[in-house]
């Protein structure tokens, strides 16, 4: 039973355009959400996070939106750059210090 789902395994975007990566969750006890970025042969690196008391968090080109009623979050990257090409994982945390990860979305930004 996947509690965190990323339904799009891959996404292709033109350089300069917006990339939108989506994530859905089922556990209403999750109260903190994170996005990680992973390049091949490297570990995931933290990108941006959001607490459930907020609906938006912005950091430069990256913005995360949270819709609690829909149990949905999204990561917007604008403008997209070729160096953004990577696998993006969303993760959720609830009680305790555990993270539950989605399956990842491979983003390809074409020059």
């Amino acid at each position: 039973d996947q509690q965190v789902k990323q339904n799009s395994p891959s996404l292709s975007v033109q350089e300069g355009r917006i990339s939108i990566l989506n994530c859905d969750y089922t556990n209403s006890m999750f109260d903190y959400f994170l996005w990680y970025k992973k390049y091949p042969a490297e570990g995931p690196t933290f990108l941006i996070s959001i607490s459930s008391i907020k609906d938006k968090n912005e950091d430069g080109r990256f913005t995360v939106f949270l819709n609690k009623s829909a149990k949905h979050l999204s990561l917007h990257i604008v403008p997209s750059q070729p160096g953004d090409s990577a696998v993006y994982f969303c993760a959720a945390a609830g009680a305790g210090n555990m993270l539950t990860f989605g399956g990842g979305t491979r983003l390809m930004v074409k020059p």
Binding site: Y32, A41, G43, F89, N97, L99, F101, G103
Partner: protein, 116 residues
């Protein structure tokens, strides 16, 4: 400062053999996690150590898997009698804070295990 390190970076082993994977967390981090990523899959939680507390082993897939954390620092994940389905990238992460903080975890580069 130094990040999370893992060794070896790659390990090829024959089915039925035991393997040990090592993780050196960031100095001072009290929490340490093991995950694995099978081909085309997301990160699957395996085990979590927090300070001197008993580890959370709820993610270990079978009793062939075990992990230790010595002195609150270095951790070793052991897989006994390896099977082909154990082939995956094993990732270690550490975190400076206990529950209630930012939940951010810092990952190592992983060990790619191939069981032939």
């Amino acid at each position: 400062g130094a990040g999370v390190s893992q060794s070896p970076s790659n390990k090829v082993t024959e089915k039925g053999k035991d393997v040990e994977l090592r993780c050196d967390p960031i100095s001072g981090h009290t929490a340490l996690y093991w995950y694995r990523q099978s081909l085309g899959q997301g990160l699957e939680f395996l085990i979590y150590f927090q300070g001197n507390s008993a580890p959370d082993k709820s993610g270990l897939p079978s009793d062939r898997f075990s992990a230790e954390r010595t002195g609150g620092s270095v951790s070793t994940l052991t897989i006994q009698r390896t099977q082909q389905e154990d082939s995956a990238v094993y990732l270690c992460a550490s975190s400076p804070n206990p529950a209630g903080s930012s939940y951010e975890q810092y990952f190592g580069p992983g060990t790619r295990l191939t069981v032939t």
